[in-house]
Symmetry: C2
Subunit: 223 residues, 2 copies
Amino acid sequence: MKIKAIAFDAYGTLLDVFSVGTLAETMFPGKGAAIATTWRDKQIDYTRLRSMSDKFADFWQVTGDALDYACEAHGVVLSEGARRALMDAYEVLTAFPENRVALSRLQESGIPMAVLTNGSTGMIGAALRASGLDGFFDHVLSADSVQVFKTAPEVYQLGPEAFGCAVSEILFVSSNCWDICGATWFGYHTIWLNRYVQPMERLGVEPNARGRSLTDVADYVLG
Amino acid sequence: MKIKAIAFDAYGTLLDVFSVGTLAETMFPGKGAAIATTWRDKQIDYTRLRSMSDKFADFWQVTGDALDYACEAHGVVLSEGARRALMDAYEVLTAFPENRVALSRLQESGIPMAVLTNGSTGMIGAALRASGLDGFFDHVLSADSVQVFKTAPEVYQLGPEAFGCAVSEILFVSSNCWDICGATWFGYHTIWLNRYVQPMERLGVEPNARGRSLTDVADYVLG
């Protein structure tokens, strides 16, 4: 199997969203982890519900809506300042520590790379700049351009269109197992980065490969 | 607003799924509630992921897959017998206590009623018979017939097709807020039964009415 290009999911895969939960904990001691979990769950729920009913709103809007829900669900009052600080945290996420070395190895091999994300164009651009990763990617592909979220086929189609090759020749990388399932169904060659040692989703589909970090992606592609 | 027909969601709305969690707790003391929560969350996740990628499998399959995930996620080994018992519990759910009186009042008024569910034809038929509710409904409409799950428009379209009236003339009843949002987007007149006092989903859409039980539905329709 010759990999001709690589498409990376962003949130949780390239960018560590853990810091958002830490900030929530400093604001709401004892409830930060629960709020962060509900926030993330609702963020994903809302992308799917809006996609299924053709009611797109961009990821920034969806992320804010999910935060509002999470705070109400856990009985905390979110001031305007706290809301802004938590949302701003999404624009200055840190990259996982192994990223720069792994992405450099891949870039030096000449393989084209893209980010393929549900994030809005503004959010992902800011986050890649803040984390110092923006120089590695030939394409930054956002759900914005098709007005629907992963795992809708329209979003995954952005990869083969941008790279100009068959989807089966593109390696799709994500730490989100549901994203890997959607991409595998769509036809990508896939590697699931199981960063948090979670069970495989039971959807009757398996990734082509598994790893734990971006180092495993570089090793897999460069042999 | 003249309501010409009523469509009810089944699981959580007509049928109490709480007993499934109780059974899980007797099998896995201390972990039953967590397993039941993950089971339900994954069940819903899988309906959406399969719908978005056009990979339908019926609700019985999805429910079993979600159970397997939940058990692995919480570190318990599910024997074949325990699995069968938990799945069987879905076919013998109890109706909420107010249902028979409320549905009788509505039936006596002559308004046609339907169940509109993600449940497979077999599951919902068995559950309605076991709970003694099967005599109340003119139609039992399952996602099976369109091979996609709520909140996909194809499922909601089953209501106006069955009743032969405009969707805006049909009252849609659900305790699942996401289901209410999807139905409202689709054009139903909606009442959200907030049985568990949860926050409203932040999706930019509101139900036409709110209640806590089927009694509120009968009061709303019959004035």
